[in-house]
Amino acid sequence: MYWLLMASYYFYMCWNYKYAVLIFAATLVTYLSGIWIKKVRDKGKDNSTKTLKWLVAMSFIVTLGILFVFKYLDLAIDSVNTFLNIFHISLISNPFSLLLPVGISFYTFQTLGYVIDVYRGDVDAEKNFFRYALFVSFFPQLVAGPIERSKNLLGQIRDLDKKRMWNYEGFVSGFGLMLYGLFMKMVIADRVSLFVDGVYNDLYLAGTVETVLAAVGFSIQIYTDFAGYSAIAIGAARMMGFNLMENFNTPYLATSIADFWHRWHISLSTWFRDYLYIPLGGNRKGKWRKYLNLMITFWVSGLWHGAAWHYVVWGGIHGFYQVVGDLLKPAREKCRKLLNISEEPVSYKIGQIFITYCLTTFAWIFFRSSSMLEAAKFIKHMITRFNPWVLFDESLYEYGLDSREVLILLFALCILIIGSLIRYKKGEDVGKFLYKQNLMFRWIVFLFFIITIIVFGEYGVDFSSAQFIYFAF
C-alpha cells in the first residue's frame, strides 16, 4: 500500500510537484471530516444532525474553495468585469496567476463523494490516513478518472492487507484493455485531432462539408481520447488487481440523450445523479421541478468540464434536449401512431441512435469551440456554405490528414467499431473479451495493437501529441 501511495504521489508530482500540496490538503480535510462525522454520529447527541451537516458543509467549502480558486476564479473575475464594464466601473484584476492543477476536478469530486457517503452512512469513515490518501491519489485514475466511489475502491484498498489482489486473469485482460485504450488515444484520437484542429484553425475558409466532418471528427476525438484514457486507467488498475468502475459503455449507440448519459462518463454522471440531482429533489417534486433539477445538474456538469461559458451552454443543451424530449413525448407518441411507425424493427433503433448521435455531435460544437462566438461562426458556416464538391477535389487532405493518414484512420475506426460492438453485444470490455479467446488469437491481437501503436501512434518529435483532453478538467 505504501509503495502504491508513494508511486501515486510521484506520478502526480511529475506534472508539478507544488500541487501535491493541494491534493494533500483535500485529502487531509476530507479525511478529518470523515473521522469527525463518525465520532459525532457515534456519540449520537440530539443536535448531531446539525453538526453533521455543518461538517459536510465545511469540507465542501474547503475542497470546492480550492477548486474555485484554481479553476473558476478567472471565469468569475472575467464575468464580473464584463458586468462592470457595462457601467464603466473600473475593472478588478486577478490577484493570482495560477496554473490549473492536473486532475483537480476529479479528485475533489472523489473526496466529496466520500464525505457524503460517510455522512449517509453508506461507508465507514476510514481511520488509516495512508489508506485514505491512496484512495484519493490512486495513480491510474488520478488525473482523468474514473471518479471512484469509496464503496468500491476504498473497500478494495482496505482488503489489500488481507488478500492477494494480483491475479492472472486481471493481469491479462487489464493488459488487453490498456492496449485498446492506448490504441484509441494514440492512433485515433490524436490523429483525428489533426483534422479537427486544421478546420478550427482555418475556420474562416471552412464550408459545410469541412465543418460537418470536423464536428463528426470531434465527436470521435473526444470519445476515443477520454474513453481511451479510461480504458488505460481501468486496465492498469486491473493489472495490479484493482477493479475500477466502468466509465464508458458505447455512448454513441445510445437511443436517447438520457441513455447517452447512462453510457458517457458514467462515473461523473452517476456522481451528479447521486450527489446533486437526487438531493435537489430529482423527479420526486413534480414535473417542472424535475426539469429545473435536470437543467441545474447539466449546467453544473458543463461548468465542471471547463471554466468558460461555452461549457455551461454545452451542458445546458443536454439538459434542454432532455426537457424538450420529455415534454414532446406525448406528441412524439402520437406522431408515431399516426404514421404507423413500429418500434420493433432494428431500423427504428438505428434511427434513434442516429438522431441521438446527431444531437450530441451538435452539442459538442459548443464544447470544442473556444468561445460562444466561435461556436456561432462554426454553425453559421455549417449552414450557409454548402460545398459538396470539396469531397471530390482532394482539398480536404489539406486540413492535416493526407490520403494515407485518412486510410489509417478509417482502418482504425473499423477496429473501434468492432471493439464497440463487442462491448454492446457481449456486455464486456475488450480486455475481458480477449481473455476468453484462444491464446494464439489473443497474442496476435496484443501484438497487433503493440506494433500499431508504436508505428501509427501520434507521438514523438514529429508530433506535438495533444495532451489527454480531460487532463484540463
Binding site: Y168, F171, R404, L439, W443, F446, L447, I450, I451, I454, V455, F456, G457, Y459, G460, V461, D462, F463
Partner: protein
Amino acid sequence: MSKKVKFARIIIFIILAGICIAITYKVLSWKDTITTYQSSMEMLYNTPDDTMDVVFVGNSHVNIGIDPEILWRDYGYSAFDLTISGTDISGNYHIIKEMLKTQSPKLVVVDLHAASFDNITVLANVYRKFLGMRTSANSIGMVMEDVNILNWPDYIFRFPIIHTRYKELGRYDFYENPVNTYVRGNILSFHQGESYDMSSIAANGDILDLKDSNKEWVDKLITLSEENDFDLLFIVTPCVLTTEGQGRIDTVKKYGEENGIPTIDGNLLGQELGLDYSTDFSDDTHLNTYGAEKFTTYLGKYINENYALENHKSESGVANPGYEQWDKALVRYNNFVKEDELLKSEDLNAYVDNLLELENVKCIISLEGKYEDSIMDYSPALEKLGLNLNDFLNGGKWLYDNGTVERIYYNNPDAEPYMFELSPKYAVKVQFTDDEYGGLLQKDNILINRENYSNDGAYLRFIIYDSFLDEIIDYRGF
C-alpha cells in the same frame, strides 16, 4: 492453470513482443535516405573485425573528399572513411569509440572541420549523429552528453523519432542496400559544381584562443590513441572556411603539433595537390571524386612515407582473405569512373564508345517512331554495337550484353509482350503499342518493375543496367 504455466506464458509473450518490436525497429530505423541509404556506420558494421589499418574520421568533407579505394589501389592499405555528415567533435569522438570495438587501426586520420563550429544546425545531421549508430553504452553516452535530458527518451528509445518513417518506407528499409556491405565508407560524386570563388580557401584565419571544448576533444583523442595504440594524424580536407572557422582549426592544429600530432591542411596545399577549382569541387565546401583522387593520392604518399603499414594485396593484386571488400569497392570505383564518362557523353557516337568500354553492363536499345529521317545519323553508332542497317531499319528492341547484341522484339502490335529479368531485382516487360507517332509517345512499351522506360519522345533509347551494382545506371534518348 499452474503458476509455472502462467509465468511461462508471460515470458514467452514478452519474448515474442520483443522480436516483433525488433523487426519493426529494423524496418523503421533511421537510414540516410538523402544519400540513397548509404551509411558509413552500416559499412563499418559489415566490415570483418581487425581489417582496417587506416581510418579517416570526419563529416561529409571526408565522406566525399577521400576515397579509400585509391589507397588500396596504390598501396594495398585497408583504409576506411568513418563519417557522419555534418557531425561535430563529439560525434567524431564517439564513432571512433564505436569503430574501436571491432577494429585495431594503426593510423586514425581525423579531419578538423568539426572543430570549426559548435553546434549541428541541420536536423537531418542531428539524426545522422544520434540514430546512425547501433544502440550501445557508447551511443547512449553520446546522447547523455549532448542532448537535453528531456529529450533523452527520444534518442535512446528512438521510436519517438523514427516511427513516422512509415510515411517514407522504401525498398532498402526492408533489406540492406548491397552497397553498404562492401563500400568503404565513402560516396562517389562526379558532380562538378559551378566555378566557385575559392580565393578565400587558403585565407588566414582569425587569431583565436583554443576553445576548451576543442582542447578537451583533442585530449580525449590522444587518450584513445594511447589506450588503443594507434597514431593520430590531423587533416583539413580542402573546403572554404570562414576566417573564424579557419582560426579555430589553426588553434587545434597548433595544440595537436604541441602534442606530437602532425596536420595536413589541404587548404594550404592548393598548388601541390593540383586542384582545379572549376572541376574538382562538387560545391564550395566539398571536393568531388576528381578532387578526392588528388587529395587522397597526396595523403597516400604521405602515409606511405611516414608510417609503416602493411600492403594487404598479394603480388598478383588479389586481396588477402578478409579483404575482399576492398577489392570489390575498387572494382565499383573503376566502374563508376568509366560510367561517369558515359553519363557525360552528349554525342551518340561518344556515348556508344563509352558503353563499349564498360564491363558488367547490359543495355536495352529501343528504336521506335518516325526515326527514318535520322537513321543515317544513328547508323555508325549502332553498327559499332553489332547491329546492321537491314536489322535496325525496321525498328525494334535489342539487348546488348557484354559485347554481344541480340534482337529481343519487333515493333509489332500483334506480338506478345517479351518479358525477362535483368536480375532478381529488375523484371522487364517489352511490348509495342502503336500510336500516331509509331509508338513513340506510348509510356508502357518498356516497363521495368512497372516504371516507364519507353522511348517516350526519343526515337532511339538506351537503358543501361550495371550488373555489378545491380542498378539501372542510365536511361538516355537520342
